[in-house]
Symmetry: C2
Subunit: 202 residues, 2 copies
């Protein structure tokens, strides 16, 4: 009955190299636009499923996660919305390649998608989400699933020019809902059951 | 690589019957006493490991967890401190029997200990804990591990007379750090990756 905590290897930030590629603009310019587009899509396709990735690196033996920063304040996990009928894992690989891989046919990134660590539900066309489907909500509008993605010991990432890729330590995320929001600020709790193995590439 | 979300069966609260037994008094009467005793034990035995249980029931198809209430406000998960060298699972079974089982030789509770869902660290002899071992802390004072415990479809619980056993819905715990503290109030996020199967005993 007991499942042992899975081990996750984490490599130093310096194992990875970062370049840039063409901008990936946000589809909406305001929260109101985003919720309106969500409503239109819901009418056509039903509940939205989105998938996001936790990519881990280490500095000073402490885990950091990679976040995409838009403008000066807003941070998000790499990922996005599935196409209707698309599989979680295939969709997340597609989104990660679109957000973080070089657009070179010679360079195929082989994303290793691991465990789902959290699931969030959006009951209404509003910004608030919950880590359960609230009672009496029979038609949630979005289900967001967050997966661990296991990085290889070396990799090249190409970051869209309008975004910044940040490595943020768990101690900065923890208890910091003001800066990172409810989903990202509780990632440290969701990862706490895992055993991190800090690997040095030196 | 992908591990499917484990399924957890949850039975209605009405499947369980509750009686009382002799009081189980707290060993300390104040937080200061508790931290002082922790320090004395640390000198003798090293880092404390404690284990706690999430016991799930359902009402109106929404998951609830069982909490022990001491006095009028303080709530805790059933569990406690391991003996030096004691195994997590055996120690948690011992603590659950001491806190919640009838003291009848004819009635042996067979606790089914499931996944570890969270691990918290206490860096100093203080109340604050973190869901990671903070950088530069080489000698943490306590490690607390929280496990899912799978309840059978029927059971009898004997609750110490000085405690109350409450079934608290996830929506009451969520974002309620003021009432339940940082460990218990983020249980909804830690459970969100699980698939709950609501079973009706009717």
């Amino acid at each position: 009955m007991v499942v042992n905590s899975p081990v996750v290897n984490i490599y130093p930030l310096s194992s990875y190299t970062f370049g840039t590629k063409e901008p990936k603009m946000e589809k909406d310019t305001s929260v109101a636009d985003r919720l309106a587009r969500m409503k239109v899509n819901y009418m056509k396709e039903g509940m939205r499923t989105s998938v996001e990735a936790i990519l881990l690196v280490q500095e000073h033996n402490h885990p950091h996660i990679l976040l995409l920063q838009i403008g000066n304040t807003f941070c998000k996990l790499p990922g996005g919305r599935l196409k209707p009928g698309e599989n979680d894992v295939e969709g997340l690989k597609r989104k990660l390649s679109s957000k973080l891989a070089a657009n070179l046919p010679s360079h195929q990134q082989n994303w290793q998608i691991g465990d789902c660590v959290a699931v969030w539900w959006r009951p209404n066309f509003e910004t608030v989400m919950y880590p359960y489907c609230p009672p009496h909500i029979t038609k949630p509008k979005e289900c967001k699933k967050i997966f661990i993605v296991h990085l290889p010991d070396r990799e090249y990432f190409a970051v869209p020019k309008n975004l910044k890729l940040l490595a943020v330590p768990l101690f900065e995320l923890y208890d910091n809902v003001q800066r990172y929001g409810p989903v990202i600020s509780t990632i440290p709790q969701q990862l706490s059951r895992l055993q991190f193995k800090m690997v040095d590439n030196a």
